[in-house]
């Protein structure tokens, strides 16, 4: 989202009303996939809050991210069922392979990683959602294979 679009979107909310904060954060994230510095600052200016207060609120919730999602967005379910079936292993494999932590995007912009509380597919545990597609019964080995099979998606010109 460019700056003009951002300003346009932000200005649709009444200014100076801090109670609009969460909904405005959601709108901006929905439109641009994440909350950029520019976005946080624009929202803060519009609602007359400090950027640190806006960032403070946004970072309290798991739903907001502060880096642009990668070309392949990976979500690891950390719900109870998945946990019991070893989703921590899966998560750690991804962290190791991609060298990023949940909430981060790899430097080349190829991958982003996120943990989610429960994707509602407990019978398929442990689940990884890659680019919106569900992958069931994951373990460390399958996770590595998944990454290899997805290489095309993550290549720059793909």
């Amino acid at each position: 989202m460019n700056n003009a679009d951002l300003i346009e979107l932000v200005s649709q909310t009444p200014d100076g009303d801090p109670s609009q904060l969460i909904s405005l954060l959601q709108k901006v994230q929905e439109a641009s996939g994440f909350l950029s510095r520019e976005a946080i600052e624009a929202i803060a200016g519009h609602l007359r809050l400090s950027p640190s207060a806006v960032y403070g609120v946004a970072s309290f919730y798991n739903q907001f991210r502060f880096t642009a999602p990668g070309r392949l967005h990976l979500q690891v379910c950390r719900g109870t069922a998945c946990h019991v079936k070893g989703s921590l292993d899966v998560l750690e494999t991804l962290q190791r392979e991609l060298k990023i932590l949940p909430g981060q995007t790899s430097r080349d912009g190829a991958y982003s990683l996120e943990t989610v509380a429960c994707v509602g597919a407990c019978s398929l545990a442990p689940v990884v959602v890659a680019g919106g597609e569900f992958h069931a019964g994951m373990d460390s080995e399958k996770t590595k294979n998944l990454l290899t099979s997805m290489e095309q998606v993550t290549e720059c010109n793909a």
């Binding site: 510095r37 946080i40 809050l49 400090s50 950027p51 640190s52 207060a53 806006v54 960032y55 403070g56 970072s59 309290f60 502060f66």
Partner: protein
């Protein structure tokens, strides 16, 4: 009058008092962590809990209004246990680092652990691992020592209207930090240090310059010169057993000599010089189309506040360097030459009540002839530490006088240490500049309150001079609002970033002790009452400096040494 029963004894309460206020008035010590005098209660830490008859749960005294007939137990076993548990839980993820912590002598957490008799580890939690933020020229943030009391966050946003830091994330990863977890250096922080004053632990402390100073003192090729700010002499004694408000000027100078400083100057001298320059600048602005109002520039956190949040008022800030920087410029560019020392061999130190002075000294427009005017800045706290470290028995020293020529000051210069003092000093001299006569040097009581916006209209000759003073930046924001709305129209406005002025600056003893601050203020007024030299323009050394070096206020040499250049203060 409503009564409550405290530990079996009947006690009167005033309307709208909280339990905490009543109990403290009664001399009962109730521990607190999140509570901060002057800010609304948040009831977050629960350390102040007491037992109330008829209530199942313990209640926080800080957030509970005292009501007729309440029966309160302040130190029942249940209460003490609850408090102890809170501290034990805080300690569970706290680094075991007291021995190496800058706050070990003054830490509230350590004191509470001690008072509650905690001698064993009850809970073991994962320690927080987070790098220190040393990006700021003024402060160090050490999130590992943060106990999330929120005092800094509230002081920064509510008292200073800055909001540089806030709670981020949550649960075990919760952190007090600037937006995006950035370093303080790229946040909106203005370096005032009021968060440092509020922090109970070692999570926010000075960017320390002690090492720099001791190495300079040990270097035989350097001449180390020191200056001390007006408010330091009325505060430093508190570290050495003197009652708040004792002026230890002579002892302090003696201690500085004992520490090895070759030359000791008094920043109040350059406060006098600031008065001369600023009064001339004001008269010039009034006669030659402004811009008005003129804002004082001696509080660097205020200057930064204008740059960060009110850039439209930048041109209105006086171009005068602060007294610290003026002294620094004089030491290297005048004193050194007169005393056969090469300016590169001078190491210039200041003792300040202020953390923002550390940042100010590093600003690009604070170089003269390519040299920093000031090389290191110690806070009052750091000076006390240094004196103690060097084994100096402070109270038994023989008082000493500062050196010539920049050790002679009028008491007007000394007044810079309290809010309203710059105005009071400047008005005395502006009056003289405009009428050729001295005003009666009566205290201007209208300026001597420490709270709120103070306004005064003064008839000087045929000019109606309107001035205003304010301290604390939330109050400064209000004042700017009044001016912007056209409700106030002053010629000259004094702004001190710290509530009360430098006597309560961010580099002074930790915490919030309103009584001590009031005593420091009275001490400055006493110096002024007892002084034979009460006008900056009668300071013979100032006059001599103009005769021999500077020419006249706002002259060419003044501009080169004492002002920040035509573009006003540098803006990044």
């Amino acid at each position: 009058m409503p009564q409550i029963i405290v530990n079996g004894k009947s006690v009167h309460t005033d309307p709208h008092e909280t339990l905490l206020e009543v109990l403290r008035r009664e001399g009962i010590r109730i521990p607190t962590l999140c509570h901060w005098e002057g800010l609304p209660a948040v009831g977050a830490c629960r350390l102040c809990v007491v037992e109330l008859d008829g209530q199942v749960n313990l209640v926080p005294a800080c957030a509970t209004p005292a009501a007729e007939g309440m029966r309160v137990l302040t130190h029942s076993p249940r209460v003490v246990d609850a408090r102890k548990t809170i501290i034990e839980l805080i300690l569970a993820n706290h680094p075991d680092d007291c021995l190496y912590c800058p706050r070990k002598g003054s830490c509230e957490l350590l004191r509470l652990a001690n008072e509650l008799g905690i001698t064993e580890r009850t809970y073991r939690g994962a320690k927080i691992h987070h790098p220190k933020d040393v990006s700021s020229p003024s402060l160090v943030r050490d999130p590992e020592k943060c106990i999330l009391c929120g005092r800094c966050v509230r002081v920064c946003s509510q008292i200073q209207h800055v909001g540089a830091i806030d709670f981020t994330s949550r649960g075990a990863t919760a952190l007090v930090a600037p937006a995006f977890g950035d370093g303080l250096n790229i946040s909106s922080c203005i370096h005032c240090g009021q968060c440092v004053m509020a922090c109970p632990t070692g999570a926010l402390t000075d960017a320390r310059h002690i090492r720099r100073v001791t190495s300079a003192l040990e270097d035989p090729s350097l001449t180390v010169v020191i200056q001390h700010a007006p408010s330091v002499s009325v505060t430093l004694g508190e570290y050495f057993g003197f009652a708040p408000g004792t002026d230890v000027d002579g002892l302090m100078v003696a201690a500085l000599r004992r520490l090895g400083f070759k030359v000791v100057f008094d920043t109040s001298f350059t406060a006098d010089l600031t008065v001369m320059e600023e009064a001339a600048e004001l008269v010039d602005r009034i006669r030659n189309h402004g811009p008005l109002p003129m804002f004082t520039s001696c509080s660097p956190a205020w200057v930064k506040f204008v740059e960060n949040f009110h850039p439209r008022w930048r041109e209105n800030v006086s171009t005068c360097k602060s007294p610290q920087q003026m002294m620094g410029a004089l030491i290297k560019n005048v004193w050194a030459g007169n005393n056969g020392v090469h300016p590169d061999r001078v190491f210039s130190v200041s003792v300040m009540p202020c953390t923002a002075k550390k940042a100010e000294a590093r600003r690009p427009e604070m170089l003269t002839e390519g040299r920093f005017d000031v090389d290191a800045v110690l806070t009052t706290r750091e000076l006390a530490e240094l004196i103690t470290m060097k084994g100096i028995d402070f109270s038994t020293l023989t008082p000493s006088l500062p050196d010539h020529p920049f050790g002679t000051r009028s008491s007007a210069g000394k007044l810079f240490g309290a809010t309203g003092g710059v105005l009071e000093a400047a008005l005395r001299t502006a009056f003289h500049m405009l009428t050729g006569q001295n005003p009666a040097a009566e205290p201007i009581h209208a300026l001597r309150e420490s709270e709120g916006i103070r306004e005064l209209t003064l008839k000087i000759g045929d000019l109606e001079l309107r001035v205003a003073a304010v301290s604390g930046l939330a109050a400064a924001d209000r004042l700017l609002g009044e001016i912007e709305a056209g409700r106030m129209n002053p010629h000259l406005v004094e702004v001190m970033s710290c509530p009360g002025g430098c006597i309560a600056g961010g580099g002074q003893p930790y915490g919030h002790d309103a009584t001590a601050v009031a005593s420091r203020m009275q001490a400055l007024y006493k110096v002024d009452r007892g002084s034979v030299l009460r006008f900056s323009h009668e300071n013979q050394e100032i006059l001599r400096l103009y005769r021999e070096v500077l020419g006249e206020p706002l002259g060419e040499t003044s501009h080169r040494l004492l002002h920040t250049g035509n573009g006003g203060h540098h803006v990044r």
